[in-house]
Symmetry: C2
Subunit: 244 residues, 2 copies
DNA sequence: CGCGTTCTTGACTGCTTTCAAAGATGGTGG
DNA sequence: CCACCATCTTTGAAAGCAGTCAAGAACGCG
């Protein structure tokens, strides 16, 4: 694959996301660019941070997918949340000295330090983007809980795909309801609280019904309008607080 | 019931929790006491905040249990998280103008504004307590996800009871592994992603096995040491960051 | 081209839900 | 103090969604 081009544009979509969350000044963008100049790279499946290890510096996902994972002693695994391009790690809760969960790279991942945002009260663009990003992260956690607690396998998968679409769209990674989905069916199972066998069956059912297309790591939602009504999907309506 | 005494001591356990998270100065305690002088009261089952409504001022639960809820259009309900005495609402993500989830009182609840903590960087006791509380809140969300995603009904209930014990212990509300559990089996079902029927059956099984005692809104774990090994329970090890 | 990972399929099991109804509990008002 | 009512708990039988085990096919990478 043409990794060169991928790395050349690394961070591009990440910046796009942050700029979408709050207006960024040239100064903000310069700080981001400087930070992204020295990315840390992780290969797929590599552990970025282990539960119980000293916490990480606040960071930005420049490219690739990562996830938080809880590994049980008997082998069971649960993906707690996903970390997509432009999303942040360890911004808000830096007061905890130890990482509460492991972080694992699902694909090649480029990471960089999140430039500090100055005083949060001054309405700096970066500070605002960070705050909105934090609010979104919490929102996604709530959604994951509702998904696991009350949705059927079928509903979980649709709901999850919609969320991924919306989150990737912030980074400009969605074109025509088609978006990258670089995760195995076993990975999906670990995220949705199912088995890979059942994920497979459900996926095939959805394909037969013409609801989604899956090819080569890309997903496409066929009739979003109709699907959203099927599953009571509510997009995030979290934006930067206007004025003051 | 002797509500008078209950209200006289309202906030007592809440203060205890915050003081357990970080050392509080007399100034901090005075600010808390002042705030708690003007509590807002909610009757059981009352809605504290509706999804989509303007967000609430940062607040402290002085007494009682509340929860975040996601209500589906077809009647399904999922309790996303619990809010116990001394826990905080809306501290970190005040930048979102609208509430992302509904808040409902499970019992009578007394609420008060969280006194502002001055500059977070100055190591004020309150600011530190708020930060640790935020980290814990996130940790509990992760745990809820793992619980719903990968544990059986039996395991979910034990795991949840352990978490409640530990959280209530911070507020000094646990004596001899016995603690208040003012929630119906249907409420438990909504929190654990089960049906009330199955919660009931599972609870009875656990009682028959002599693992727990449940009487009059109080729960008691019989042999915590043994139980914890059964379910791979990991206590939170989040504390205030030392030094700096 | 060969090997390992991932995907697919089938048969069977089982945990959990559903539906329905009876029993207990607790608070309220007469 | 007791009857009454709503809410909560308990129980049974039957159905269903998802898990388990196992093996073969397809895919992608080196």
């Amino acid at each position: 694959v043409n990794q060169n081009r991928a790395y050349a544009s690394s961070g591009n979509s990440a910046f796009k996301r942050l700029a979408a969350l709050a207006p960024l000044s040239d100064q903000d963008l310069a700080a981001l660019a400087r930070s992204a100049d020295a990315p840390t790279r992780f290969a797929a499946h590599r552990e970025i941070l282990r539960e119980g290890a000293p916490a990480m510096a606040p960071s930005i996902i420049l490219s690739g997918w990562a996830c938080r994972v809880r590994q049980f002693s008997d082998g069971r695994r649960q993906i707690l949340s996903f970390l997509l391009p432009g999303e942040l790690i360890g911004m808000c809760h830096q007061h905890e000295p130890l990482a509460a969960t492991s972080l694992v790279a699902l694909t090649h991942v480029d990471l960089c330090r999140a430039p500090s945002a100055g005083n949060e009260d001054e309405g700096s663009g970066l500070a605002e983007a960070y705050a909105v990003s934090g609010a979104l992260e919490e929102f996604y956690l709530f959604r994951q809980i509702a998904r696991l607690g009350r949705l059927s396998a079928y509903e979980r998968m649709l709901d999850w795909m919609f969320e991924m679409r919306d989150r990737l769209a912030l980074a400009g990674l969605v074109a025509d309801d088609s978006f990258p989905m670089p995760i195995t069916q076993e990975g999906l199972a670990d995220a949705l609280g199912l088995t890979s066998v059942h994920v497979n069956r459900t996926l095939q059912l959805m394909r037969r019904e013409g609801l989604v297309e899956l090819r080569g790591g890309m997903a496409r939602l066929i009739d979003p309008q109709r699907l959203m009504s099927l599953i009571d999907y509510r997009p995030a309506h979290i934006t930067a607080a206007r004025g003051g």
